[in-house]
Amino acid sequence: MSATTSETNYHAGPDAVSAKTSRYRRVSKGRGNFELWSWVFMRGSGVLLLVLVFGHLFVNLMLGEGIHGVDFAFVAGKWASPFWQTWDLLMLWLAEVHGFNGVRTIINDYTEKDSTRWVLKGLLVASAVLVLVLGTLVIFTFDPCVDPSSTLSVCTGR
């Protein structure tokens, strides 16, 4: 039996005849609890996010003036309280890491070559780090008086 291979097959059609030399060969990837913890994290963060996200939506869109009340002053008012700072920080981190992990899983499931896998994961890590760092920075260094002509009471008072 000749082992002529063809890369232009459909599905996992005939390419390599011998499984010993092809991509079908099983290679041990090592153990560890990483995938277990990632699985647990997805469930835990998912439940927490349900509360955080719907709580966030309810407070912003339903209470008080509803959606018409959301402006710079509204956000400034919320972030003056450590409670909302913590809430938003938690929501940011959980959502970003939850989404990051989900996309990582999708990349693992759909990419066939290790090289594609690494490129996509590189982009993913870069974007996640960017969002996390930027988001965290904004929550902690937020200054309601960035605009010198601000008319907010906190700014005019000093």
Partner: protein, 255 residues
């Protein structure tokens, strides 16, 4: 029963109780590594009875039309698990699938199971599948002296893993799994089912070792619960449930 009723109502050919016959087209994915560079489809017309299985049609083609058609089959009665193939896009055993049940009005497509290297026509290399199977150590592991009698087990203990003892290693589940299709590194439902069979056996003492094996990067955590495996199993094993039970056992062993 159905055949008898149909023959009576139609009443056109043969005596009452005769099994009706019909012509059916089979589209078979052919690949001969010595000639072809790629898989291609070929159609065959077969006269079949309502009681015929897809395997009977394949036999008719091989014996009467084209002797070069290759496929595996051994017992031909749904026990050995040799003739798993993709019939009308679904993994089934050719010997357990009646032609009349897969819409013979349209051509019936027959392909090799997906995700394993095709050797010829409907024959795939099962080695990667068995490699994963071997890795979960599908044999009784015990410590201490061998008892002089059989190892006693209560009916309740036996029922705990009864479902997963039914596996015939046909690979219909593993090759229906989209995660397995991708790169073939995932252990696959069949290996997990066979690990489950020993993990939940009260007589076995290798449970924690097997759980460790399945805690692998390519282990149970890659299951996306798409239930393809449960649908594909010709033995009706609740495959996805078995995988979830292994996940739960791993979690409870940690917390």
């Amino acid at each position: 029963m159905t055949a008898t009723v149909e023959a009576k109502t139609e009443g056109t050919e043969g005596k009452v109780g005769a099994v009706p016959t019909f012509t059916v087209t089979l589209r078979i994915a052919r690949y001969d590594p010595e000639v072809d560079s790629e898989q291609h489809w070929e159609s065959y017309q077969v006269t079949a009875h309502a009681t015929d299985r897809v395997l009977d049609a394949l036999h008719q083609i091989k014996w009467e039309q084209d002797g070069s058609l290759s496929f595996r089959r051994s017992c031909a009665h749904g026990v050995c698990g040799s003739d798993a193939m993709r019939i009308n896009g679904k993994n089934r055993l050719a010997c357990k699938t009646l032609i009349k049940d897969v819409n013979p009005d349209k051509p019936i497509t027959v392909e090799p199971i997906k995700g394993l290297p095709v050797e010829k026509d409907l024959i795939v290399d099962m080695e990667p599948f068995f490699d994963a199977y071997r890795e979960v150590m599908p044999f009784l592991i015990t410590t201490g002296n061998e008892p002089t009698r059989e190892r006693i087990q209560s009916q309740q203990d036996r029922d705990r893993f009864d479902d997963t003892t039914k596996c015939i290693l046909c690979a219909a589940c593993t090759t229906s799994c989209p995660v397995f299709w991708n790169d073939g590194q995932y252990f696959g439902p069949a290996a997990i089912v066979n690990a489950h069979r020993f993990i939940f056996d009260s007589r076995d003492e290798g449970g924690s070792q097997r759980l460790e094996v399945l805690n692998d990067k390519e282990g149970v955590w890659r299951c996306r619960t798409t239930f393809n495996c449960t649908d594909a199993c010709p033995r009706g094993i609740q495959v996805t449930q078995a995988i979830q039970e292994v996940k739960r056992a791993l979690l409870t062993s940690r917390f």
